[in-house]
């Protein structure tokens, strides 16, 4: 069967990015605030996902990382390592550089034949009394 290559992401995503307003408060090492701070936070989140393959956290922040993680995987599966644009993108988004070989040698062969998304985002149970924040669990498929 012929493979149809899509450029779109394969899971539900929002039309607009979320402003992560509390990013600077989260760590004492201090991310920058604003759009640049948001991307700094998401970069670290994505590398953490690729390293641990399962991440717990706030559902909304994980939803943001999911988009970027899936995009990087999709581009690296489609183009491979010898493509300039993917190289730049991967170099920027993966902060800890020992995961780049892991990406191309472990994750790409694992996800090559997938028609569906490569990650799954669950919601963790609500702890009484609850509040506006819900916790989520982001996982790469096939991580056993």
């Amino acid at each position: 069967m012929n493979k149809i290559s899509f450029n779109a992401l394969k899971h539900a995503y929002r039309l607009r990015h979320r402003n992560l307003k509390r990013v600077q408060e989260r760590l004492p090492t201090g991310y920058r605030i604003g759009p640049r701070g948001r991307i700094d936070y998401l970069r670290n989140s994505v590398t953490n996902l690729f390293r641990e393959e399962r991440v717990e956290g706030t559902w909304d922040y994980l939803d943001e990382t999911r988009g970027y993680a899936e995009l990087i995987l999709q581009q690296s599966i489609k183009n491979g390592y010898d493509h300039e644009v993917t190289k730049e993108m991967v170099d920027y988004w993966i902060v800890e550089k020992d995961i780049i070989p892991k990406l191309f040698e472990v994750l790409v062969p694992r996800f090559e034949d997938y028609d569906t998304a490569y990650t799954k985002l669950y919601t963790l149970p609500y702890v009484y009394p609850g509040g506006p924040k819900r916790m989520g669990l982001l996982e790469l498929k096939g991580n056993f």
Binding site: K102, V106, Y114, T116, P129
Partner: protein, 184 residues
């Protein structure tokens, strides 16, 4: 903002001139009043002079309702869902987990089942030496080998971690084989 400053300046000037006139009348050498009472003590500058801060805080009314709230709006605020009844409505999305039987909310993961999974993954990840796990990720697929497993499943092209315990019943060895469908 400029108008406010001008306003205060004008007020200050007026007040100053009035004070000057009165004090000149009272304390002039030509006109002497006979009175037994002591001359008026100079009041503190705070009471005489109007600062911008005083005007802004006391004299100008900022947030003020523009019109009377109708009965409908009052009732919706007090008697309806928002800020009152969100916690008072019953939860109808509680179901028993099919695996363990504990209660869980539909749309979420069962907490009891996930606790087991979380503890097991912590153990598994702690078996990997810290330097490799945090700083030097292996470039092969990681395989966790339990005591019960077939020794033939151990393959050379994988990074094998020996778990020195029996395989938990919920973590079946059949999961390791690739399925035939699109969700493999």
């Amino acid at each position: 903002m400029k108008n406010l400053i001008k306003f205060t300046q004008i007020l200050n000037r007026i007040q100053f001139n009035i004070d000057r006139c009165i004090s000149s009348l009272l304390f002039n050498d030509k006109f002497r009043f006979a009175y037994d009472v002591a001359p008026p003590v100079q009041q503190s500058s705070e009471n005489n002079q109007l600062s911008l801060k005083d005007i802004v805080n006391d004299s100008i009314l900022w947030a003020v309702p523009k019109s009377r709230r109708s009965v409908e709006r009052r009732f919706t605020r007090r008697m309806r869902f928002h800020k009152h009844f969100e916690h008072a409505t019953p939860k109808k999305n509680i179901t028993p987990c099919l695996e363990c039987g504990n209660w869980m909310e539909r749309g979420t993961i069962c907490g009891h089942c996930y606790e087991k999974v979380r503890d097991e993954t912590e153990e598994m990840q702690n078996k990997i030496p810290e330097k490799i796990r945090n700083f030097d990720a292996p470039t092969k697929e990681i395989q966790f080998h339990y005591e019960d497993d077939d020794p033939q499943i151990r393959k050379e092209n994988k990074y094998i971690v020996d778990m020195k315990k029996k395989r938990p019943t919920w973590f079946n060895a059949n999961l390791l084989s690739k399925g035939f469908g699109r969700y493999s």
